[in-house]
């Protein structure tokens, strides 16, 4: 966690130097909790304790809202081009991370927009898991698939599990 601390320092210094006042106003710490259900299909919605996580990261919103709150990014690789962390129009992950990342319409849109610098953007599902699960793996948060979202019946069928589990395990065919 020393790296986080260092980058946090960097952020504070950057902020001090730029004389940037953190006028968060109402959105100072964001919502207390959020129900993440945009993708819900095999799993129920995720009850996300926003406030608890804000506390965990000691107010470093950029750990998740990477440089979209006006705070400098934590990733040093991004700092090079986004030193101040310009405020983005939106805070919601889904506004930049597509739900249909690999559909032909989205692929065509990326290909058509040649002004776009970032073309290797994960979709919404990838952004959530790499961010949430990634940190949980590093910092001891829950990592089981059912820890963040309970699997529903459709999910059980998908995984051939629960009441959809194979009845009698057949012998694997000769190979």
């Amino acid at each position: 966690m020393t790296r986080t601390r260092n980058t946090f320092l960097v952020i504070m210094i950057t902020l001090a130097l730029s004389g940037w006042p953190p006028v968060f106003g109402q959105a100072e710490t964001g919502p207390d909790s959020a129900e993440l259900d945009t993708l819900a299909q095999l799993y129920d919605a995720v009850a996300f304790d926003h406030a608890a996580h804000v506390e965990m990261v000691e107010g470093n919103c950029a750990r998740c809202h990477h440089h979209t709150t006006g705070v400098a990014p934590t990733n040093p690789k991004c700092l090079r081009c986004h030193p101040g962390g310009q405020e983005a129009d939106s805070m919601a992950c889904k506004d930049c991370h597509s739900e249909k990342r690999f559909e032909s319409a989205y692929l065509a849109e990326i290909a058509a927009n040649t002004d776009r610098f970032h073309t290797d953007i994960p979709g919404l599902k990838g952004a959530y898991h790499r961010n949430c699960l990634g940190c949980h793996q590093e910092s001891g948060g829950p990592t089981g698939c059912a820890d963040c979202h309970a699997r529903n019946e459709k999910g059980d069928a998908f995984f051939s599990s629960g009441k959809y589990a194979p009845k009698s395990p057949q012998k694997t065919s000769g190979h």
Partner: protein, 309 residues
């Protein structure tokens, strides 16, 4: 030719074989002189550094392809400990994709999980070797096959450098080849990604035009040189494959054959074909080609695996 089935094939005897071999094989072989993969074909870039081994891709494949129920649920993780004749799991007629776990010494993040399925070669050896023309490389990049044409000779199993095609024994009279078709019928054809790609929570796989993915992959490596091995497996191997891989541990440690070379398998066969394009000499030539290939595969097998399994 579409109607050809095993029985007809047997009745046709040698004459039929010769005719098919001549028209089918020779044409394919000479066309390969200029063929380097369709320009706008699609592909998948697999980034092993992101895989958490949840097997969602296996479950998605099973449902999408309407495969028989698995022996064990897809959330059953002890399959990673399974060994079949000492080998990790491979694709079968019931599972067109499998994920295997590789324990890598001193890797901070723990084991690496490797997804395995047909690589959809630009110049597929299965296609070249098939003398009833059951295989097609579509312009979208998928290597598909027509099971009604397949006579069950298994030549493609021998030809495949990645040991992908499996056999369905459920119909003993007419066993046919079974393998991943990149969800061609249900998705790829309509411009949609394969089911496994879409199911992955970590987005381990990136779907797009193959030529874009090559750029994207190298870009990712360039931005994180301390993380990735500087190699996109499948960019050049055996003439290029639609599925490509990036990793933070050497590919040999994940069971990849890194001795296949950059020549498509077809070239080894082709040399003989162009010299003596006569029907009866094709078979010995083919098998000489396979022999060379088998040797390369064997050489790889005999190497001691470096990582502890």
């Amino acid at each position: 030719m579409k109607k050809l089935n095993r029985r007809f094939f047997l009745k046709g005897g040698m004459a039929g074989t010769a005719l098919l071999a001549d028209t089918g094989l020779a044409k394919k072989a000479s066309a390969a002189d200029t063929f380097g993969g369709y320009p706008d074909s699609m592909g998948v870039l697999v980034d092993f550094t992101k895989c958490v081994g949840c097997r969602s891709c296996e479950a998605a494949c099973n449902k999408e392809q309407g495969l028989p129920a698995p022996d064990k649920p897809f959330d059953y993780m002890s399959v990673f400990d399974e060994r079949h004749k000492g080998q990790k799991r491979r694709t079968t007629e019931k599972a067109y994709t499998v994920v295997n776990r590789y324990n890598i010494k001193d890797r901070e993040q723990g084991p690496v999980f490797r997804k395995f399925q047909c690589n959809h070669c630009n110049e597929p050896a299965c296609l070249t070797s098939c003398f009833v023309n059951a295989y097609t490389k579509t312009k979208e990049g998928a290597v598909i096959y027509d099971p009604t044409v397949c006579v069950g000779c298994r030549t493609c199993m021998i030809a495949c450098p990645f040991y992908v095609p499996a056999y369905s024994y459920s119909n003993p009279i007419n066993p046919v080849i079974k393998k991943c078709i990149m969800c061609y019928d249900t998705r790829l054809k309509f411009g949609r990604p394969p089911a496994c790609v879409e199911a992955c929570p970590q987005e381990v796989m990136t779907f797009g035009k193959r030529k874009d993915l090559i750029k994207l992959g190298h870009n990712r490596i360039q931005k994180n040189p301390e993380k990735y091995i500087d190699h996109l497996y499948g960019e050049k191997e055996v003439g290029g494959t639609a599925w490509m891989y990036m990793s933070d541990v050497p590919f040999e440690e994940l069971g990849f054959n890194t001795h296949l070379g950059e020549q498509p398998i077809i070239s080894y066969v082709k040399e003989f074909l162009t010299i003596v394009p006569m029907v009866l000499t094709i078979w010995p030539a083919l098998f000489t080609g396979f022999y060379l290939l088998a040797n390369r595969k064997e050489a790889f097998k005999n190497e001691k695996p470096s990582g502890n399994e």
